[in-house]
Symmetry: C2
Subunit: 228 residues, 2 copies
C-alpha cells in the first residue's frame, strides 16, 4: 500500500475516525448518487489530520475498513499562502487550487487597497465557506491532512519574519527559505504593508491576484517537496 491515497483506491472521504467510520449524509449521497458507487467498491477514508485507511463502500451500512489505519506525519516544513480578498475576486477558486496543490496553511487577508471590508459575521461566514471548499478540494485531491484555513486578518498585522515574504513586482527570486508568501490585491501593497518584509517577484507579467496566489502555491509546494 502506498503511504497516501493516490486515487487508485477510489474516492476519498473525511470521517471523524477512520477506524470507526460514520459517513456524513452529504458524503454518502455523493458516493452513492453522484459517483454511483456500489456495494464493495473501494474508497479511502481520512480524518483530515493524518490518519487514513482504505475501505469498501456499503450502501446500507457504514464503510468497512480493509486495512489498519495509517498515520501520516504532518509536513516537516509546512508552507502557507496568504491572499488579499478583493472585490469581484474568486476566493473560492484560490482556496480550491491551493488545497489541491497541497498548501498547508491558507490565510485570507484584508489589505489596505483591497476594498473588501467585511464585518465579523460576514468574515466568519466566508471562512466557513472556505473551509467547505477546502474540504471538497481535499477529498478530490486525496489529502490526508486538511489545510488550515485561518480567520481573516489584516496583512499589516502580520509580523515580519525570516520565512515570510510578500509578493511584489521586481522582488527577489523565491527560495526554499521562504515558507509563507503573501499575495496582495491588484493595486499592490502599500508602503506600510511592505515595511520590514522580504519581497519576492512572481513574474514579468501583471498577474491577477487569484493567479498570483495559485502560482505562489505551486512554487512553494514544489520547493517544499523537492520537485524543482
Amino acid at each position: 500500500m502506498d503511504e497516501t491515497p493516490d486515487g487508485r483506491g477510489g474516492p476519498h472521504v473525511f470521517v471523524a475516525d477512520p477506524s470507526m467510520p460514520v459517513l456524513g449524509d452529504d458524503d454518502r449521497h455523493h458516493l452513492a448518487r453522484v459517483l454511483r458507487l456500489r456495494d464493495g467498491d473501494p474508497i479511502t477514508m481520512g480524518d483530515g489530520a493524518g490518519r487514513w485507511s482504505p475501505a469498501v463502500f456499503r450502501s446500507d451500512a457504514e464503510p468497512e475498513p480493509t486495512a489498519d489505519v495509517v498515520e501520516v506525519p504532518e509536513a516537516g516544513s509546512p508552507v502557507a499562502v496568504g491572499f488579499a480578498l478583493i472585490k469581484g475576486g474568486r476566493p473560492e477558486l484560490v482556496v480550491q487550487k491551493l488545497t489541491e496543490l497541497g498548501v498547508d496553511r491558507i490565510l485570507p487577508l484584508t489589505a489596505e487597497r483591497s476594498v473588501v471590508r467585511w464585518d465579523a459575521a460576514k468574515a466568519g461566514a466566508q471562512v466557513e465557506r472556505f473551509r467547505r471548499v477546502a474540504r471538497e478540494a481535499a477529498m478530490q485531491s486525496r489529502r490526508v491532512w486538511l489545510p488550515e484555513i485561518e480567520e481573516v486578518s489584516a496583512a499589516r498585522h502580520l509580523a515580519a519574519s525570516d520565512g515570510l515574504a510578500v509578493a511584489e513586482p521586481g522582488g527577489d527570486p523565491l527560495d526554499g527559505s521562504i515558507r509563507t508568501l503573501l499575495v496582495g490585491p491588484e493595486g499592490g501593497w502599500t508602503a506600510d504593508e511592505l515595511v520590514g518584509h522580504r519581497t519576492v517577484g512572481l513574474g514579468r507579467t501583471v498577474l491577477r491576484a487569484e493567479t498570483a496566489a495559485i502560482a505562489a502555491g505551486a512554487l512553494l509546494t514544489a520547493l517544499r517537496d523537492g520537485r524543482i
Copy 2:
C-alpha cells in the same frame, strides 16, 4: 521607461501597428465604457509580436503614441504547456492562467482517455475561442508577445525530445532542461502515450487536470525567468 508595460502605464490593448494604431471596436468600447478612460488617459499598445508603445487615449480619434515603438525580443528559451481537453473541463480557465503566467506556447491536446472527441469544425471553433481568451488575458497581464495557441492535436503524435516531458505521478523533479510539459486527463496517460517520454511529477496530491496545467505553467515560467 521600463522594457515592458507594467500596468502603471494604464490598460494594454493590441493593435496591428503601434506606430499607426487603429483600435478595434470592442477594444474602444472596453476602454471607454468599461474602464471609463477619458481623453488623455495613458494606455499601452502592443502588436502581440514584441512591438509596443505608450500612448494616450482619445475618445474621438485613434490613440496618440507618446514615445517611439519599443521592440522586445522573443523569450530566448520559450516554454510550452500542453493540456488534454477533457469532458466537463474548464479549458478557458487553463488558457487564461497560462497566458497570464507568461507561457509562450499552449498546446490543446486530445488524449486516449480524455473522452473529448471533436470534429475538425468544432476543434477549429474551440481554438478560435482559446485565442480570444488568450488575447484578453494578454491585455490584462500586459504581455507584449501573445502566446501561440496551437491547433488541437493528439498527444500520442507528439515526438519525444530532450526538452519535452509528460506530467505523471511519481515522475522526476522538474528542471530547466524541460521546456515543454504535457498534462494528461484525470484518468492519466496510457502506456502508449508515455512511451519514449521523460516523466515529471507535479505533486503528492491528486491534481485536477486544470490545476496540473496551471501548476506546470507557474513552474516552467519561474524556471525560464530564473525566479526560482
